[in-house]
Amino acid sequence: MYRYDEFDRKFVNERVAEFRGQVARRMSGELSEEEFRPLRLMNGLYLQLHAYMLRVAIPYGTFSAEQMRKLAQIARTYDRGYGHFTTRQNIQFNWPKLEDVPNLLAELADVEMHAIQTSGNCIRNVTADPYAGAIVDEVDDSRIWAEIVRQWSTLHPEFTFLGRKFKIAVSASDYDRAVVRFHDIGLFIKKNDAGETGFEVWIGGGLGRTPMIGKISNEFVPAEDLLSYLEAVLRVYNMNGRRDNKYKARIKILVHETGLDELRAQIDAEWAAIKDSALKVPEYEIERIRVYFAPPPFETLNAVDRGFETKKFENPEFSRWVNGNVVAHKQVGYAIVNISLKTDDLPPGDITADQMDNLADLAENYSFDEIRATHEQNLVFAHVKQSELFELWRELGEIGLAMPNIGKVTDMIVCPGLDYCGLANTRSIPVAQRISKRYADLDQQFDLGELKLKISGCINACGHHHVGHIGLLGVDRRGEEFYQITLGGSGAEDAAIGSIIGPAFSSSDIVDAVEELINFYVEIRNQGERFLDTYRRVGAAPFKSRLYPEKLDAAA
């Protein structure tokens, strides 16, 4: 993985010093809250419902055991013993004191971490495919390019006070494991016929109150022109994006209101003017970064490990975990292991400090000292020997992290909701916990197969409900928590925005309603069909009449 050189290290330390000064000016009253707010946000610091919350960047979701241990220590010292993984491959801590944050940041800097641009109206921490460097279907390691984008976007002098936040994601695969099409800019790495690397660029995707799937603005931007192209898009957006209404300020609205062709023409004109400049990414820099992402020293192994096959045969629980959480690796004899953070005990995405320390040890022992965070609020060990899967599973089980529910109904994306968030209308976590309880039976979960359920506590859609096969959106109805259901969304390569199925359900009825939908799917599904496939085949109407039978009666 990427390691800081002296320039990166100095830069991050200088940022800590700058923020320390800003905090001091806030405490002394030189900065008002109104002035301080944008400054603290662009360094990841929120003032939430109960306390401050600090979001720490994990660039493209890759981090080391040493970094994980530091996060554990921070969870103990500044949080109340927990960390919370987010949908943008970051981790956030609740409860830090303002006066402690500069020291917290200095501690992060010691292990090459920071909180730069994890919030605010700037280019946010760049995300990427969590299987990068391990999955067979990629054309390149997306983290190389994500790191180039990270450096370019860090404290960019021109794009730090944009109309709204700006999110960039990178993938190198036809399978979309990073919701790339729902980013302000989504980059798919491609090879052209000549074998050269370039980017298919999607712009104007996003969730929030106006969900939109991105559109292709350029089918192939040569790799060396990546930064000039990004700069052209950002400049056109910064100058022309709306500033009169924060809900219409994202680039998706500019694309929508300007029209893709016209906006593309503006971007291309700007790009043509700046393409041949110092913005070209030099080959030496690409190579310098590429070295950090070279494959770890894999052993030459057999494709089939007899011990592993035997264990699977002997132990059905292990076999189920392999089935659910383990993915084929591009290196023969290795596997990609997903570690679910949707366990019985904690809110989705939460992890205790002790679990972090334990995982750090396991990452060193089993996965070349590397951990990934996914946008689905889980973790990944990217490079595990098949022959060691059983031992790893056993050790994960000891710390409560061997839940085999990846992609299943209980593997929900869930925003913090009103239990923590100052913007939320309703809670999300308790609903998720009740659904988990309802579907605690793993046999039933496996029978249901892939089912993406996502919950947001308000229209800002941090819980990605628009792209859930089943999405729940919390709404406040005269002071009571209600939940609206959307069906048919997907954040993957078959991207789609879910449709609202009908009137919202009260908190007491919502879990039954979800169960009713799932029961209906089970009754009408064809062999091998996922919930989403069945919904797409039959459409919304049958689900609707099942969920709201009284409406049907009234109409009859």
């Binding site: 806030r26 405490m27 002394s28 009253g29 809250e33 003032l47 939430q48 419902l49 109960h50 306390a51 401050y52 109340r80 409860w95 830090p96 004191k97 303002l98 006066e99 809110p347 009103l418 239990d419 923590y420 809670r427 976590i429 308790p430 916990q433 009740r434 309880k437 309802r438 002071g479 009571e480 928590e481 009260s506 908190s507 007491s508 009825d509 879990v511």
Partner: protein, 117 residues
Amino acid sequence: MEHHVITANRLNDGLVVFMGEDGCWENSILDAQVLETDETLKICLASANTAEQAQIVVGPYEIEVIENDKGEFRPLRFRERIRAYGPTTHADFATQDVPGHLTHLDDVSPVYFNGVG
């Protein structure tokens, strides 16, 4: 007039605080000064704004409270109840023992009605 208390987050630690009898900021809503007239509300909001100018609290505002049969005042809206009593998901984080505040995993809906709990 309805009953109100004034709440904010403390600048330094960010925690939820309530304006007490003597104008100090208290961690517990039980120690909050309950305001019964428009006039006292106005005066206390002005003093809360002064506290904001003095870097003591951030974003003060008034919330409606109602009295339960034990004579305790509780926030009317569930958002404010969660602010006052802590996240409903962690027993350790609760700031007060309030019946029905914590989410229980017994598959019974923890409905949070407006009104006295």
